[in-house]
């Protein structure tokens, strides 16, 4: 469904400048992004080694996932992003079907149905795929319209977001549902949605919150809010995690206790120390210096992603790249915010550091898309 115009650009200009492209562009790799990601993943493995009480088994497992994630990233980067745009409605439809399948056939784990386990295929969470498919689809839809988006178009976008987010919330997995929603909303906001409407939407959201609290939220979710507001309420129960993680971070000080010397994690005081709360281990062992290093790596990655969005050649690429960059930032902020006691506890891993294959693979796929956007460029439109 390419427009005749875009087909013209690729056809005429791309072939002529093939010679001038660097090797990294030919391999469709963005070097700054690759470098920052690799440093972050390496640093993450170091922290993970300590957080798992020096378990080489867990570190090797994580390494295998990282390997797969690199392959996914490089693989996705080879495809022209316009190809993704073309197929996005179908991919989206497939994703929704998978979500429906989860609700029907999904494996139950910890009281929620989140995983699909088809024979012969690795176990996976379709909701993770939706974190990419939703912004992709919304961007694809809006890129065909005149900007700023009209009200009717926004409503259609909201529907595209609401269906997968709603299905995910039903699993129940409110955290992922919210992140899917955030990714989609970023696209709409970047597309230039009228501020007046943004204001109205926020107002409605604020008014709807109490209703959500009363009619929709489960007890465990309410509990998390309670605990966030007052962790000492149940110091050995729900508040334990947050008290322990703050203690780990605070006791780390400026220079930290040194690698493998963090007592909070070594003595098992930090539950989830290798998954959602891994940043507490990092902060305890590497101190403020380590935290600033980590944040610097994230800033480099997000900055590069925003730059890629800024220089992208077409609206679809811009919207998608911008949304991916900002969503990645939200992950970072929500995770560190929650572990340091600024936000309530939601199940968001620290991107690219926490133990867990699905999250790393889907994030790296996102970076593959960013690399694709940046390396499949039409020379005439490079600014």
């Amino acid at each position: 469904m390419l427009t005749p115009e875009s087909r013209k650009y690729t056809g005429t200009v791309g072939a002529g400048l093939e010679r001038k492209r660097s090797w990294s562009q030919r391999l469709h790799v963005d070097m700054p992004l690759l470098f920052a990601l690799t440093v972050l993943l390496g640093f993450g493995l170091l922290v993970l080694y300590s957080a798992t009480n020096q378990s080489m088994v867990e570190v090797k497992r994580q390494l295998i996932f990282i390997g797969i994630a690199y392959l996914m990233m490089f693989g996705v980067a080879q495809f022209d992003v316009r190809w993704l745009r073309q197929w996005s409605p179908w991919m989206f439809l497939g994703g929704v079907l998978l979500l429906l399948a989860v609700l029907k056939f999904g494996e139950v784990s910890k009281g929620a149905r989140r995983w699909l386990d088809f024979p012969g295929l690795p176990r996976f969470q379709p909701s993770e795929v939706m974190k990419i498919l939703v912004p992709l689809t919304v961007a694809s839809f809006l890129s065909r319209k005149l900007m700023p988006p009209k009200f009717a178009h926004i409503l259609i976008c909201l529907a595209i977001i609401a269906v997968p987010a709603g299905l995910t919330a039903k699993q129940p997995d409110l955290g992922t549902a919210l992140l899917i929603g955030v990714a989609g909303m970023f696209v709409i906001l970047l597309a230039g949605m009228n501020w007046k409407w943004v204001g109205i939407a926020l107002l409605i959201g604020m008014l709807a919150a109490p209703a959500l609290w009363i009619f929709y939220m489960d007890d465990y979710q309410k509990n998390r809010i309670h605990t966030f507001l007052d962790p000492e309420r149940e110091p050995l129960g729900a508040g334990w995690n947050i008290i322990q993680s703050k203690t780990a971070i605070g006791s780390g000080g400026i220079n930290g206790k040194g690698w493998l010397n963090g007592v909070q994690s070594r003595l098992d005081y930090l539950p989830e120390g290798k998954t959602d709360f891994i940043v507490a281990v990092l902060a305890e062992e590497f101190g403020l210096v380590g935290m600033l290093f980590l944040l610097t790596l994230y800033i480099v990655i997000i900055g590069r992603a925003l730059y890629i969005a800024g220089v992208a050649q077409d609206l679809f690429s811009r919207l998608l790249a911008g949304s991916l960059a900002l969503t990645f930032f939200v992950y970072v902020f929500v995770n560190i915010g929650m572990v340091s006691g600024l936000l309530p506890v939601v199940g968001v891993p620290l991107p690219l550091v926490s133990l867990g294959g699905t999250s790393i693979i889907s994030l790296m796929t996102g970076f593959g898309i960013l690399m694709s956007i940046h390396t499949h460029r039409s020379a005439r439109l490079v600014f």
Partner: protein, 652 residues
């Protein structure tokens, strides 16, 4: 759409996008600033606070309970020691599947629902997270094996070894030593919480209670690094506890055993005192109980069984009050001589009964119930060895109750004079003042008569009787009764001075006179009913079992229930009296008379006669203490070469 339009749109939409991206970036940078600020706050400003907090989670100070001091008898026989005991404990935080585990334990070690309820209470009360809570103490070997084999099915449960008090002699010394038990809430308020941090049990009674501070020792500490699951990762530092000090008692466990055996099936008590120190050589109370039941918490079934037992095994009869009966007579006689109310030569003619002028009530001598003849001509000496009531009724008409009180008080009656036996009773030594305060009535003359034969208001404990007998043996030299001889097995005997002044008589020879009369209670046998000591028959079995030493004593029969008009009939057929209404039998004694070493008081509840029931018990105690294996007086107890010219005792 024309190409021109789209190109224009593209430019506009790019600018729109970039402005939005810029806003997003600015917000992101601001939020990163928030994160950095949060980290600086936690890691710099609050660093000290969280470091302390981290250490307080990580480093636990574990109290180490000191080892409780041991208790030995005078010959170094161990009376209370510490034995390893194995307890099943549970750490709540680690106990996944507590219900299943408890169900399994019900099968494995017959964990009763009652024990589960108690555990739940303990779990609720527990303050420190990850601390072990006892499930059952004192596991037996089978239980330990059963738990060990199934350990993997009992997450959070563990067997812990600790030292537990053990009383090797069990019931024999329960009343003398006391026992330890779980610290109660009242006790918790009064003890040093720091020193008792690791201690679960405390002395509840007897020596264990009085010497709690000495026996307990000083708590030690271990600083350990603990994981969240309570596992000790490493010991950082250790301050050893100071073990409690050992105690050596005056008690002679062999004598204790002999006294207990001699008392046989009687309910009652025996106290034997070392005449030279006041040390308690034996303290028996029957029935007893096994003090080991209290270790690790007595089961409610055991406790209820003992507490509801009609024979009241928890009552220490060696320290409980009873009417003294005729055992009071030697002391009263001495008082009469010393106050000049009577002379040794003064006699009465006893018809077997006595009447106060103008009072219709007839006071009967004990012989009245046998032959109605009375004791005929009676002087003080005979009044003692024949235990003549009429003589003392007559004496009481001349001796005021307050004079009686003041003289007898010197012997420790009416108060607890023991050094370290606070649970001993004080008894009652009546006086006008006492009656006014206790009953609110004036004193009546007839009551003096009752007091003179050890009935009425007067109440004494066997310990007081033994103390008085010791004072008689000592010629008034005071030693307060005391359990503990020294602290530390190889320590020095504690030198003690009495709080009470020695008893001074106007004529020191009166001690000899009364002592002689008391020896006649056992030894006098000049033929005929009226010329024989009241205890001669029972103690020497009518001369068939002569004593190897001179023994002084006095019988006592304390009326429990006033008998009605047919008293005579019942008295002649004593076995028809309900056991609980039978008179209490008492006997006091000291020996050897020339060189007294030991004083004894025997109390046989409902034993009917002091002479027949309690006398032989007293002799058995004296024999056990004084005689060697050859049946002769031990050399160290023989009178000094220059014997004190005392008695012209009539040989049995």
């Amino acid at each position: 759409m024309s190409e021109r339009h789209i190109l224009k749109d593209l430019d506009q939409e790019r600018r729109l996008f970039l402005s939005r991206l810029l806003i997003g970036s600015v917000i992101a940078v601001a939020l990163v600033g928030v994160l950095v600020a949060r980290m600086v706050f936690l890691q710099v400003s609050e660093h000290a606070y969280y470091t302390t907090k981290s250490d307080s989670y990580r480093i636990r100070t574990m109290p180490i309970a000191p080892t409780r001091g041991l208790i030995y008898d005078r010959n170094g026989v161990l009376l209370a020691d510490n034995k390893p005991s194995y307890n099943l404990t549970v750490i709540k935080e680690n106990a996944k599947g507590m219900q299943e585990s408890l169900a399994l334990l019900a099968d494995l070690i017959n964990l009763a629902p009652e024990e589960v309820d108690k555990l739940k209470v303990r779990l609720k009360r527990r303050a420190v997270p990850f601390s072990p809570v006892p499930v059952r103490m004192n596991l037996n070997e089978v239980d330990i094996a059963n738990i060990a084999v199934n350990q993997f099915r009992l997450p959070g449960f563990a067997i812990e070894a600790q030292l537990a008090r053990h009383y090797p002699q069990g019931e024999l010394l329960a009343h003398a030593l006391g026992y330890i038990g779980s610290i109660s809430e009242d006790e918790l308020e009064n003890l040093d919480p720091v020193n008792y941090e690791g201690t679960d049990e405390i002395g509840k009674m007897g020596v264990e209670k009085f010497y709690e501070d000495t026996l307990h020792g000083k708590v030690g500490y271990e600083q350990v690094e603990k994981s969240a699951s309570g596992r000790i990762m490493q010991v950082l530092s250790r301050t050893d506890p100071a073990a409690g000090k050992d105690l050596v008692l005056y008690l002679d466990s062999k004598l204790q055993k002999a006294a207990s055996d001699a008392l046989g099936d009687f309910t009652g008590g025996v106290v034997a005192l070392d005449v030279e120190t006041g040390g308690v050589l034996a303290m028996v109370s029957k029935p007893g109980f096994d003090p080991n039941l209290f270790i690790g918490g007595i089961s409610s079934a055991d406790y209820n069984r003992l507490n509801r037992d009609a024979e009241r095994p928890f009552t220490n009869r060696a320290l409980s009050k009873t009417s003294p009966g005729s055992t009071i007579k030697p002391f009263l006689g001495l008082g009469a001589l010393d106050t000049g109310i009577r002379t040794r030569e003064y006699t009465i003619r006893d018809p077997g009964h006595f009447q106060l002028d103008g009072v219709s009530h007839v006071y009967h001598d004990w012989t009245w119930w046998k032959d109605r003849n009375g004791h005929d001509i009676v002087n003080l000496e005979k009044a003692i060895y024949q235990s003549c009531d009429t003589y003392f009724f007559d004496l009481a008409t001349d001796m005021d109750i307050d004079t009686m009180h003041d003289f007898l008080a010197q012997f420790g009656f009416g108060r607890n004079s023991a050094v370290d036996i606070p649970q001993a009773g004080s008894g009652v030594l009546p006086s006008r003042k006492w009656k006014k305060e206790a009953i609110g009535q004036p004193w009546y003359a007839g009551e003096t008569l009752n007091s003179a034969i050890g009935q009425g208001y007067t109440e004494v404990t066997p310990l007081q009787l033994a103390t008085a007998a010791m004072l008689m043996a000592n010629h008034g030299k005071w030693h307060q009764p005391v359990m503990v001889k020294r602290i530390g097995l190889n320590g020095e005997d504690i030198a003690r001075t009495s709080d009470y002044p020695d008893i001074k008589l106007k004529n020191d020879d009166d001690w000899h006179f009364i002592g002689h009369a008391m020896s006649e209670v056992i030894h006098k046998n000049t033929g005929g009913y009226h010329n024989t000591g009241t205890a001669f028959a029972s103690i020497t079995e009518n001369g068939k079992k002569p004593l190897a030493y001179m023994m002084a004593g006095k019988t006592g029969t304390a009326q429990v229930k006033a008998m009605a008009a047919d008293y005579k009939a019942t008295k002649q057929n004593e076995s028809s009296i309900d056991e609980e209404d039978r008179d209490n039998a008492l006997f006091i004694a000291f020996a050897p008379v020339e060189n007294p070493k030991i004083a004894v008081a025997v109390f046989a509840e409902h034993g009917l006669h002091g002479a027949s029931a309690a006398g032989p018990v007293a002799r058995a105690v004296l024999d056990a203490y004084l005689l060697g294996e050859d049946g002769q007086l031990k050399p160290e107890y023989r009178p000094p070469a220059v014997a004190t010219p005392v008695l012209t005792a009539s040989a049995p």
